[in-house]
Each structure stands twice: as structure tokens, then as C-alpha cells.
Amino acid sequence: MKKTKISTILSLLRENIGMMLLRKRSYSSFVHYPVIAGKERSKYRSVILRHLDCGSCQGCELALLRLENPVIDILQYNIKAEASPRHAYFLAMTGPITRNSLEAAEATVTAMPVEAIIAVGDCAVDGGMFKSSYAIAPRPNAISERVVLEIPGCPPSPLVLEQKLLEIKAK
């Protein structure tokens, strides 16, 4: 028997569920939302971030906060910051990972359902200008293995941040 890929099953399910929902509420006045399937859907997937500070200078935090203001308004692309790592798809990590914050950082990473890290800023990418300091921890594999995207810049400009986050959304 030919094996069916899980992804196709999922997309079939999604379509069916969508149809079921539509059938349930088939009033004449109901506005039918388009059912998005397959590749099209991933375009509309939301990206939920959890911020993790590992000793940054707050420059990257200012850049991340700038994304949320009404002018740039990253929420329009369904990219948002959540308060709990349990709800997050990606960890937006800033700072060079200091020895003092290592324990908390590892605990946050393991608390995530899917452990994927976005390194925001030069410090988070490779330690930046602080990498030679005694207070910076040697980067643990648990963290460096899980970095899926690196956004360099000191701090990264919001335009670059926005572009990179939209890239990851399209994947």
C-alpha cells in the first residue's frame, strides 16, 4: 500500500474541518471565509515569539518594542510576542548569554513545545563585542543547535527585523 504523507492527511483534515464548520452555519447571511489549504495557508500562519534576555544592553529590546508600535505594527502580519514560552513558536533571544542568566535561559528553552530560537542582534548571534569577557558563558549546545535564524545588527533596525520575521513566516 502506498504510504500517505502526514502533511497531506493534515491538509485534507483541515479542508474537511473547514467545510464542516461552514456547513454547520449555513445561514444565508453568513460571510464565507475562504478555506485556505496547503501552501497558501502557511502564508497566513502566525508567528508567536517569546522574548528572552540573556544580558543584552536593551538596544535590541527597543528594536523589538518598536515593531509593536502603531506605525510599524507587526501585528498586521500575525507576528506577536507572547508572555509564556509554552505558547510560543520561536524564542527571540537577545544578549551574549551571561553566566548568571544561563540557567534561566536553558529553563526557558526547555519549556517551549518546539524549541526554535531566533538570535536577535550581534550579541545573540555570536557574543558580539562581549564574547571575550569572563562573564559570558561558553555557548551550550542546547542553545546553539536550536538557532534557526540569525538577525545581525547592533541593534538590528526594525526594517531588517520585520523582513526577517516575514521570511520565517513564509517558510
Binding site: 544580558g55 529590546e61 518598536r66 508600535n69 548568571n100 540557567e103 569572563y134 545588527g153 526594517l159
Partner: protein, 590 residues
């Protein structure tokens, strides 16, 4: 020069060594501990305020001891008084403690205990040590700022046991819990230990700063020279980058006796005020956001974005897209010897944009504060009385919101553009610190109280003082622009040769390894750099002090339950109070 301290010291002048210092500074070394303590007691009676305590390992130098330097400010006219005291490890390893005279010295004692492994003779409780180098990450005995510390120390002592940090013992008593170091917002990392009174009322809160400790003071010594240290100084705190760079450069300029061109001073003052405007707008917006006043916060966030884009325009290279420029926090313009601009900004544009921004900000912010629900939420939340503020040595707008209007280094120790007689900025700062609005403009009684004499030190007062300061900053910028327009083509920075020539003079102030003091009034309060010079223009020791060193203890007091001041805060008030302070996490962690 007949002020109090000088008269007091004069009788013992032969005994105390008095070193030549730049104008406005006095420096004595006092060898005997009892005399040091009695002199500091005298300073306390004369209402001098403690600005900094720095320890320097001079065992390999002339002193053959650890030298502890106390920096005070006071007198008439105001001066920096620096007292040096040698602690010879052959005789004693205990430092003189002045916590009974100056409560503000406690954070410094905690710092020195961690970074040098030296304790004060008054005794630190075990919970007070290990705040910067947590014992869960660093083995005991790691004293990184001693000169005999070497880079592989941690590797050699890897096998040693790490223990649970002692500050966690505070949690075991009573109803207590911890919040942090990872917080539920986009914010810095720090650990708060709360002690509850039962129910929702907070009894006490304890802040553990060290999670962002990056070992910056040691990095200055190892990797940077006097010339390029500004790069690291600007990366200490992102939101105060310009003030840090400015204070660093001023310290080196004071050390090497460099006089920078007057136009450079004007630009420095302009950017310092621009940084103040930007951050105050952001903080007021955040405060509104924190109490769900979205109508006002969204408008202010839009203004904040406009400020950032203005800065991006100023700092971008000509011909580049300013929006792609990552420098929206005023980095990279300070140099030892002046200011370097990517291109001279269009001053008329800058002035008109900022004026519109600021006038709209004031309208929106005052509109928000006049709304009864917001006003009642902020008023009498997190009270810091002026006596408490004076006691902990609160700095910057926090002290001014509690009524200590003189606590502003732009007035206390005017230097650079602030001391320029042609500009006369003193008048603006002194006369208009609290703007007086017409009757029509302040319908609410509470706002009137805040704006006149009754600065009660609550969250509303801190918001009001920010609004007032933004207006003052705008007036300063207007006057600076008027003067800058006249001579746009003036030299802004000394040439490389001129600076090198200055730096090559090895003997400064009559003794090697002298220090330079640099001070800048950032939006949080004064930033201080104290830099000792090593051989070949290297940095022997670089000590810096963030205003939040004093303002974290101030935050603790304004959250604490207090019957006398009727200060009673619920747990839900804590974020409101914290936002009204917006203290620095990385600045205090070092």
C-alpha cells in the same frame, strides 16, 4: 577657595596630601581611618551628597594598597570632593564602612565585595553578597577586578563546587515568592523577590541585579585603550548610549586635560537633550500602556517612532536609506576630543520636527493625566518622600519628582554647553523646571498640586516631571540650534595628532595613574565615569556608575509597606511603579 570642606581640612593640610585637580574638584588622601570617618561625618552634616565609591587595586603601584575613593558633591560653590584612603592588605583587608552615615553607600559595598572580594568592617549580611557574581555560576573567590586576576581563572577553578545563591534565603521566610529573571514582557532580566503582607499588599521587595553582568569594567582594562573605550561605553546601556559615551569622553578629556571645541559641546548637549526627549516620551507611553490607557499610549508610541526615525536620519551616512540604519539610539558620535557627525543635520528641519513632536506630546500626556481614572490610578501609588529620596541618594528625575529639584548635575556642576555664558542654559533649567500653567489649562486639582510646589514623589509626579523635562529639553535645543546655526562650519573634533600629542604626556596631575572624572546628566540621572590611566594610554581601571544604582533602592522604598507615609501598594501596583521608574538592568549589573 574658602568653602567648608577646605577650612575643615586646612588645619590638617600638612598631614593630608592635596593633589592638583581640574577646576571644581578637590582631592585628598586620608591615611587614618578614624579621621576619614569623622571627615565624612562632617560632610554629611554639611549636606554633601555621595555620588560614587570606587575601589582601585594599587598594590603594584606607589600606594602598595587597595585605594578606595569616595566622591561627594556639595559646598558653596558646589564642588566634587574626592577622598582617597589606602587599605593595606598587610594590615587589614576590611574596608571602612560608611553605611551608618550614608545609606546610599550600601550598593557600592555590595559591588566591591563581589568584584574585589573585600568586605567592609561593618559586615555585610550573607544575603547581600553574591548579587553580581551569583554563586550558582561563579566559584567562591573569583575577584575579577583585582589586578592579579587572570583570564583563565574560571577554567582553573572549574571543578570547584557551585552553590545555591545566598539571596534565595530571603524567600524562605514568610509569604514570599520570586518573579524573574525572565519576565513576561519585552524587558530586561532581573530577579525580584517579593515578601507579601498577606492578601495582596506587598510588604517588601528585593531586587537581584546580576543576571546581565557582562564583566564590562574588566573588558575596559584588557581590550580597550583611552582612545577607543567609547565604543564599549556606548554598549553598556542601549537606551542611555549617548550619555554614557559623553561621560566616558569627558572623563578621558579631564584626565588628559584636553579642551574640546565649543561647537562640539553644543552638539553634545543637543544630543543629550534629544535622548532625554526620546526616552521620556517612550516611558510616558509605556506608563499609559501599563494601565490600559491605550488611547493615549498609541498616540505617544507614534510620536516615539517619529523620534527614532529622526535619530536614524541624523546618524545615517549621506546617501543611505535612514530606515535601514540600525543606529536609532544615538551611538557612534562621541569621540575623545569632540564629536564626529556623519553629516551636519538640517537644523531647521530638526528643530521644527521636534517642536511639533514635543507640543503634541505635552498635549496628549497632559490630556491623559487629566483623565480622572488615570490620575487616580497613578496618584499616591509608589510614594517616595523627599526625606527618603535624600536618604537613599535618589538621582535624576526620581529625586526631582520627590521635590529635590536641585538634584541635577546640569545645575550642580555645570560644564560644557551648560556652563556656557553665551547660551545661558542655567536660566532655562532653573526657572522652568516646573512649568506653571494658566488656570484654564489645569482643571483638576491634583495636576495643579503636582505642577506647583507639592511634588509628592508618586507615580503621577514622576510622570508629570517627565513631561516638564521634555519641555525644558525642547527649550534648550531651541537655544542651542540658534547658536549652532551661526557657526555651522566650525571644527567639531580635535585632529588625531592633537589628541595623540596630549595623550603622550605621561605624567598628569603630578603622579602616574591619576584618574579623570566624567559626568553627564542622562535622562535617568547622572552617569559617572572614573578612569585611571595605565602605561601607554591603556586603561588601568575604569569605574562607571549608573543612576539606577541609587534608584533601585528608591524603588524598593516606594514599594515597601509604610504606615508613616501611608504607602500601601498591592501586587498589581508593582508594574505601574516599576514603569514609572524604568530603572536600568544592564547599567547596574555592569
Amino acid at each position: 577657595m574658602t568653602n567648608g570642606i577646605f577650612a575643615a581640612v586646612q588645619e590638617n593640610c600638612t598631614k593630608y596630601r592635596n593633589f592638583p585637580r581640574p577646576e571644581g574638584e578637590l582631592f585628598f588622601t586620608i591615611p587614618i581611618r578614624n579621621e576619614l570617618i569623622s571627615l565624612i561625618q562632617f560632610l554629611e552634616r554639611e549636606q554633601y551628597s555621595l555620588l560614587n565609591i570606587a575601589l582601585n587595586d594599587e598594590r603594584g603601584l606607589e600606594a602598595h594598597a587597595y585605594m578606595i575613593y569616595y566622591t561627594f558633591s556639595g559646598g558653596e560653590p558646589r564642588q566634587f570632593v574626592i577622598l582617597g584612603h589606602a587599605v593595606n592588605p598587610a594590615q587589614t583587608t576590611l574596608l571602612p564602612s560608611i553605611r551608618k552615615i550614608y545609606e546610599a553607600s550600601i550598593p557600592f559595598e555590595q559591588e566591591i565585595a563581589d568584584f574585589f572580594g573585600l568586605f567592609s568592617d561593618d559586615g555585610l549580611s550573607p544575603e547581600e553578597t553574591g548579587l553580581f557574581l551569583h554563586s550558582s555560576a561563579f566559584p567562591v573567590g573569583h575577584a575579577p577586578l583585582r589586578q592579579d586576576h587572570y583570564q583563565k581563572w574560571l577554567k582553573d577553578h572549574q571543578a570547584e563546587e557551585l552553590t545555591k545563591p545566598a539571596y534565595l534565603n530571603l524567600l524562605q521566610t514568610g509569604k514570599s515568592f520570586s518573579v524573574g529573571p525572565i519576565h513576561a514582557q519585552i524587558i530586561g532580566g532581573g530577579l525580584f523577590l517579593f515578601k507579601m503582607k498577606g492578601g495582596e499588599t506587598i510588604e517588601d521587595v528585593f531586587f537581584v541585579p546580576g543576571h546581565q553582568h557582562r564583566g564590562i569594567e574588566k573588558m575596559f582594562e584588557i581590550e580597550y585603550t583611552l582612545r577607543d573605550g567609547w565604543k564599549l561605553a556606548e554598549c553598556i546601556t542601549g537606551d542611555t548610549a549617548f550619555a554614557y559615551g559623553m561621560a566616558y569622553c569627558e572623563a578621558v578629556e579631564s584626565l588628559t586635560q584636553v579642551n574640546i571645541p565649543p561647537a562640539a559641546n553644543y552638539w553634545r548637549a543637543l544630543f543629550l537633550e534629544l535622548e532625554r526627549i526620546t526616552n521620556h516620551i517612550g516611558d510616558v507611553a509605556n506608563s499609559f500602556h501599563g494601565i490600559s490607557a491605550v488611547l493615549f499610549s498609541n498616540r505617544l508610541f507614534t510620536l516615539l517612532e517619529a523620534c527614532y526615525q529622526l535619530i536614524q536620519q541624523i546618524t545615517s551616512q549621506p546617501g543611505c536609506n535612514p530606515l535601514e540604519n540600525s543606529n536609532f539610539i544615538l551611538r557612534g558620535m562621541n569621540r575623545v576630543g569632540g564629536v564626529i557627525l556623519p553629516s551636519i543635520p538640517n537644523l531647521e528641519d530638526l528643530q521644527s520636527t521636534l517642536n511639533t513632536l514635543v507640543s503634541e506630546f505635552v498635549q496628549v500626556a497632559l490630556g491623559g493625566m487629566r483623565s480622572k481614572s488615570i490620575c487616580k490610578r497613578l496618584a499616591s501609588t509608589g510614594i517616595l518622600t523627599s526625606e527618603q529620596a535624600y536618604k537613599v541618594g535618589a538621582a535624576g528625575f526620581v529625586a526631582r519628582a520627590s521635590g529635590l529639584l536641585w538634584r541635577d548635575t546640569r545645575i550642580m556642576h555645570p560644564h560644557g554647553a551648560y556652563a556656557d555664558a553665551a547660551l545661558n542654559l542655567q536660566d532655562i533649567i532653573q526657572e522652568t523646571v516646573i512649568p506653571k500653567y494658566g488656570e484654564r489649562d489645569r482643571p483638576l486639582e491634583r495636576i495643579a498640586a503636582v505642577y506647583e510646589e507639592d511634588l509628592t514623589g508618586d507615580a503621577l509626579a514622576r510622570m508629570a516631571i517627565r513631561v516638564a523635562e521634555v519641555e525644558v529639553s525642547m527649550m534648550i535645543i531651541n537655544r542651542l540650534v540658534k547658536h549652532l546655526k551661526r557657526n555651522l562650519n566650525e571644527k567639531l573634533c580635535l585632529t588625531e595628532d592633537e589628541i595623540s600629542q596630549r595623550l603622550e604626556q605621561t605624567r598628569r596631575f603630578d603622579r602616574p595613574y591619576r584618574f579623570g572624572l566624567g559626568i553627564a546628566e542622562s535622562w535617568r540621572g547622572e552617569v559617572i565615569f572614573q578612569i585611571w590611566e595605565g602605561p601607554d594610554n591603556s586603561i588601568y581601571r575604569c569605574n562607571f556608575r549608573d543612576p539606577s544604582v541609587f534608584n533601585w533602592p528608591a524603588l524598593r522604598i516606594s514599594v515597601q509597606f509604610n504606615m508613616e507615609t501611608k504607602n500601601r501598594n498591592l501586587f498589581a501596583d508593582f508594574p505601574v511603579i516599576n514603569k514609572s521608574y524604568n530603572n536600568s538592568y544592564p547599567g547596574v549589573s555592569k
